[in-house]
Symmetry: C2
Subunit: 117 residues, 2 copies
């Protein structure tokens, strides 16, 4: 996959409204009106976000001129996940080390001397 | 995790040089000089990218004033992966449907009439 594609995907994901739109579309297609409803946003503001998502290939829009329903296009999400998965080993190892450290800290200290008088 | 944190992570990942820096740091800590070497970039240009990564919490820098080695900080990568993993079901289903369609297209058509003369 060209780097520019991954740039566009990650840039599109760097916004809470666009991530919320993706979350909504994961449950099925929706029109702009349906997408705008849960946000305190005008339809033009939502449309602007949809354009970013569409340009990044994260959504496609239906041809019905009146409704133009939006659908999630899964390929860019898969590619972004694949890229991040490469580093799973890194963060898993880091969290394992942290767990080990926490376990160690929770052990009662080994008494090396008797109790103080 | 606050949405702003995820915004910063995805924005930081939306650049091929920063992704390459992350890929390099996944193999171990490195100084700015070491990071700049494989890129045709000046050290100040690399430092600029490091600041974005550091602000997003994706890297930490050592205290040694001379070297200030960079290290990958795994938590934001894990959180970004976790967010994307929520949609794994979506893209897996979409690719399964595509596979089924391709299998169908590769079947030889059922002859309903004899060969043409």
């Amino acid at each position: 996959m060209p780097a520019a594609r991954l740039d566009a995907t990650f840039a599109a994901l760097a916004d809470p409204t666009r991530r919320a739109i993706i979350a909504r579309l994961a449950n099925g297609e929706a029109t702009v009106t349906e997408l705008a409803a849960p946000f305190r946003m005008t339809q033009p503001a939502v449309s602007k976000h949809l354009k970013v998502l569409e340009k990044a290939g994260l959504i496609t829009r239906g041809r019905d001129a009146q409704r133009r329903p939006c659908r999630l296009a899964p390929k860019p999400l898969k590619d972004a996940t694949d890229w991040l998965e490469t580093y799973r080993r890194n963060w898993e190892q880091a969290f394992d080390r942290l767990d080990a450290l926490l376990d160690e800290l929770q052990q009662p200290p080994t008494p090396t001397l008797g109790p103080r008088p």
